[in-house]
């Protein structure tokens, strides 16, 4: 009975099963043939703007600034002082990317978490004494400070703050706030949330000294020339409102404890908790844990556009918490989110490209930036493999054996720039020659090099042997993601020259401790710091006994060139003369590139997108290393909403 029924319905059911498979083909079209205009971000590229490039001096003199309607109303009601009193004496003038914008509306963004993703917000909203030029980080400009000068051979630097900058509650911003942040928070072991003080403030063992000259003049002093002081003061937020935080600090309020202070000054509290005054363009007004953070404009923000309007244009910026990046992609396509860049992956490119036709957003390609790399462990527990890894010829051979163009086409949809282990185009000391060194695909050359170096296949099993007779075999540690695809292809390429590479694919939580303990053979990861090695010292130099992680014993056992590179880097940290810095960093570059300790596949472009309802979004936002990611160079404060909508959240 059942058999009869099955016969009757079986064929129908089979057809029903197969039908959906035909439909799948209709879903996403593959834009793989779309010609990629690779806009290499050279330093000379400047966007054409329709706005005035200079501000009319009369506006500055008479202080006839424009302000947002929602603030103008508050001024009328007497809740806020007029805009000419809210702005500092010498506001920072911003030239908008495209045109002078309109006030109003909400910028909508997404995060995959709130407390665990504070960086997503701090990169967008951070304001420091200095800032990197946007969108291309080739110079450092003034931000909260309006002037600086070096004295005493670079061992002292004097910073002048803009007079008249106020916190978002109207309280004046002075050097006292900087000193509070520096001495009472960052250098105070009990008050600090991270256990170690950031090494950027130390020269050797001694901390850099900061002194107050007057309310608006800060003196920074050190034993050695302050080579990186500008960088140090342009990334984060080097001031906290003393008038608020001191109430929890035991030094100022003996009834409080350090534990209470630490709890109230965590990153998340500093960035997301409403009620604490800030200097950023927007300040938080609502935080529903795990769901959304809403920021509203800061009436005392210190920037204006070239027509004299106080920034930001948008009234609000919201961050919705969505745990799955695929869903963030979906919401971006659905125009529920305006900017999508922090979580965009190369694998999302086909979907984004095909949905772009609906004209609800425009894609931008930025980079090239950090790309996939294979970190060779010079201290791998396998001593026979270690001997081979330490041989320069082996590394050169491994590098030439990789078919980078194939990886580019298959995994990266043409968004990879094949290259070697060197400084990439966003680095001021980049050269094309060193960038491409050892990156040509030449498996015959690799085989010849390996034969000559003594790693031959002696038993005819198509695998080469190491010097002790065992097979030339090792493991590649890799975490799920694009790295797996790249590693599979590379392992095939290496098989073609007779080297056996096995993949060890595990969760990050298992791979990472192996990396830290030096238990791996090869660790696949994104290349750290090709645009700014000085920001990633631990991967390029022997800064401490167990560093770099790919050569833990380098301090005792490391090759001479690495020690030399370390000497040069340490020298650069205390050099102020830019010519000297260039010389030294070029030497560092050549030492690393010529000795190829890490095998890099290339630099990858990133894809990011902005909704068409936004105006003034730059096309060349970079994800450069100095920004530690994507959102800072998009500079949100001059983005405006093209159709101004009512202040209720949309």
């Amino acid at each position: 009975m059942i058999y009869a029924t099955a016969k009757r319905w079986g064929s129908l059911l089979t057809a029903l099963f197969l039908l959906p498979i035909f439909f799948l083909g209709c879903l996403a079209t593959d834009p793989g043939d779309v010609a990629m205009g690779k806009q290499a971000t050279s330093n000379a590229v400047v966007t054409k703007t329709r706005a005035a490039k200079q501000i009319d001096p009369i506006v500055l003199k008479n202080r006839t600034f424009g302000e947002a309607p929602m603030l103008a109303e508050k001024v009328k009601r007497g809740e806020l002082p007029p805009v000419s009193e809210r702005l500092p004496e010498n506001p920072l003038i911003v030239v908008p990317v495209d045109t002078i914008g309109q006030y109003g509306g909400t910028i909508r963004r997404a995060l995959t978490g709130d407390i665990i993703q504070t960086a997503g917000v701090s990169k967008t909203l951070g304001e420091d004494l200095m800032g990197f030029s946007r969108p291309l980080p080739d110079s450092i400009e003034f931000n909260l400070a309006e002037n600086y000068e070096y004295q005493d051979d670079g061992k002292t630097a004097i910073f002048k703050l803009r007079k008249g900058i106020k916190w978002s509650d109207g309280h004046p911003y002075t050097v006292d706030d900087i000193l509070f942040w520096y001495y009472d928070m960052t250098l105070n072991d009990d008050a600090r949330n991270s256990v170690l003080a950031p090494s950027v403030w130390f020269v050797g063992k001694d901390p850099i000294q900061m002194e107050k000259v007057d309310d608006h003049t800060l003196k920074v002093k050190s034993q050695a020339p302050l080579g990186r002081i500008l960088h140090a003061l342009s990334g984060g937020s080097s001031a906290q409102p003393k008038h608020i935080f001191s109430q929890w600090h035991p030094k100022y309020n003996p009834q409080s404890t350090y534990q209470a202070f630490r709890d109230s000054s965590t990153d998340a509290q500093q960035i997301m908790k409403p009620g604490i005054p800030r200097l950023s363009a927007w300040v938080p007004v609502e935080w529903i844990r795990g769901q959304r953070i809403v920021y509203e404009r800061n009436p005392y923000y210190h920037k204006i556009d070239t027509a004299g309007n106080q920034l930001p244009y948008a009234d609000r910026i919201t961050f919705t918490i969505i745990q799955d990046p695929q869903v963030i992609l979906l919401k971006f396509i659905n125009a529920e989110i305006d900017l999508f860049g922090r979580y965009s992956k190369v694998s999302m490119f086909p979907t984004l490209k095909s949905e772009e036709k609906k004209d609800r957003f425009k894609l931008r390609i930025t980079g090239p930036d950090r790309g996939p790399s294979f970190y060779i462990n010079w201290d791998t527990p396998k001593t026979n493999v270690r001997e081979a890894f330490r041989n320069l010829q082996v590394r050169i051979a491994l590098s030439h054996a990789i078919n980078r163009e194939e990886i580019n086409q298959i995994v990266y949809h043409s968004l990879l720039d094949p290259a070697g282990y060197s400084f990439n185009p966003s680095n001021p000391y980049y050269t094309e020659e060193s960038y491409r060194k050892y990156s040509t695909y030449d498996p015959e050359k690799s085989k010849a090099i390996l034969d000559k170096a003594g790693y031959r296949d002696t038993d005819g099993d198509s695998w080469r042997e190491l010097k002790d007779g065992s097979r030339f075999e090792f493991n590649i540690d890799v975490t799920p993601g694009e790295g797996v695809d790249v590693s599979e292809l590379v392992s095939e390429h290496w098989r073609a020259i007779g080297i056996k590479a096995n993949l060890n694919i595990s969760l990050r939580d298992i791979i990472w401790p192996r990396r830290l303990n030096g238990e791996f053979d090869i660790h696949q990861w994104g290349q750290e710091g090709p645009a700014d090695p000085l920001g990633r010292l631990n991967d390029w130099a022997i800064m401490a006994p167990t560093v770099p992680f790919w050569h833990r014993n380098a301090s005792e056992d490391g090759p001479e060139w690495l020690h030399e590179a370390t000497r040069l880097i340490k020298q650069t940290l205390i050099t102020v003369d830019q010519e000297k810095v260039k010389e030294q960093m070029s030497l560092v570059r050549d030492l690393h590139t010529d000795n190829v300790p890490v095998i890099t596949v290339g630099s990858s472009y990133s894809v990011w997108g902005a909704g068409t309802r936004l105006g003034n979004v730059p096309f060349q936002g970079t994800g450069a290393d100095v920004y530690r990611g994507w959102s800072r160079p998009v500079f949100h404060e001059q983005i405006y909403i093209k159709q101004p909508i009512s202040p209720t959240l949309q």
């Binding site: 978490g113 407390i115 256990v195 090494s199 745990q323 529920e336 990050r508 920001g535 401490a544 530690r628």
Partner: protein
């Protein structure tokens, strides 16, 4: 009966102690700990900076007492729970565990309870229909649909539904439980409507997975019962067919399902993990996954312990309920 309940409650205690030890060991088992996890996450985001990772980890280990022997850490954890009711603080969320769960409890319970009700309301009538019209087209059809719902991974179904909503229906707000304008606002009729417009997706996705099981169990049990003699007697007495089926058949067939209810209790709290992540639901499930992947000791431990407690309580409640429903069952 009361003796029975007391004995069961007493038996729960050694079970719970054992479970707490196993949970603690399981969380500690993978290499690394919440600190390496946190640092790996920072590194992935490019946030690691130039500080030596190892030095930071060591220093933090000291501060959090992670270098102490495991039984000491376990004793610290368990004594805080038992004597102070303090489940500790989550490292990843920087909040007390109870506070964190409490915030999400309301929506979680609402979602899981409605899913449970939905599943039962759909599955039981279908099960009854399948049993009474055995081997008909309807029977096969419903079984087929049920199995498709069971076989399709929930997260995939959720993504597909959301994708269709976006590309075909162009819904304004997909995922989550509320549209942006209603998050954090007071409850109103409009907010309730908005909630209903969103909640059908998770209920459908999670529900379709469980209906297949309930349908088959119901069908199987009822078929068994319908073959028995008291059904024939009922028909012979001249009762309506529906009364015979429901009052004489279903009432007995439903007992195993009631036992199953007890097993559903823990998933009320921590169920729908991956679906919750995909749909962006502000419920407790997604936190569970984050806690486990980042080896957040207190949060994950609390979850495991609570789930285990709920399971034991659920079983006890199911047994009591069964005793009340089925006169043939009596406990000593």
């Amino acid at each position: 009966m009361v003796n029975y309940i007391l004995r069961r409650l007493l038996n729960m205690i050694p079970t719970l102690i054992l479970i707490s030890m196993v949970s603690f060991a399981v969380i500690q088992a993978p290499p690394g700990d919440m600190l390496t996890s946190r640092l790996a996450e920072l590194a992935e985001q490019g946030e690691l900076g130039s500080e030596s990772a190892m030095a930071q980890i060591e220093a933090l280990r000291e501060r959090y007492g992670l270098n102490d022997p495991i039984y000491e850490q376990y004793y610290r954890w368990i004594s805080k729970i038992v004597f102070e009711g303090d489940f500790g603080e989550s490292f990843t969320y920087e909040m007390g565990v109870i506070e964190l769960l409490g915030e999400r409890l309301g929506l979680t319970l609402m979602l899981t309870l409605s899913t449970l009700v939905f599943t039962w309301i759909i599955a039981i009538p279908i099960g009854i229909y399948s049993a009474t019209r055995q081997y008909s087209i309807g029977d096969y059809g419903f079984t087929f649909l049920g199995f498709i719902g069971l076989a399709t991974p929930n997260f995939l179904l959720a993504l597909v539904i959301m994708f269709i909503q976006v590309t075909v229906f162009e819904t304004a707000s997909v995922g989550g439980l509320l549209s942006p304008e209603y998050i954090g606002s007071d409850w109103s009729w409009a907010k309730l409507m908005d909630l209903l417009a969103h909640i059908w997706v998770p209920i459908l996705v999670i529900g379709t997975g469980s209906t297949a099981g309930v349908i088959r169990i119901m069908r199987g049990n009822l078929l068994d019962i319908l073959g028995q003699q008291h059904i024939q007697t009922g028909r012979a007495k001249g009762l309506k067919e529906s009364t015979v089926i429901v009052k004489y058949g279903v009432r007995i067939a439903i007992n195993p399902l009631v036992s199953r209810l007890g097993l559903e209790l823990p998933s009320l709290l921590s169920g729908a993990v991956v679906t919750g992540i995909v749909l962006g639901l502000p419920t407790a499930g997604p936190i569970f996954l984050t806690a486990l992947t980042s080896q957040d000791m207190f949060l994950a431990g609390a979850f495991l312990l609570l789930s285990a407690t709920f399971l034991l309580m659920g079983n006890l409640l199911a047994d009591i309920l069964l005793a009340w429903l089925d006169p043939r069952i009596r406990y000593e």
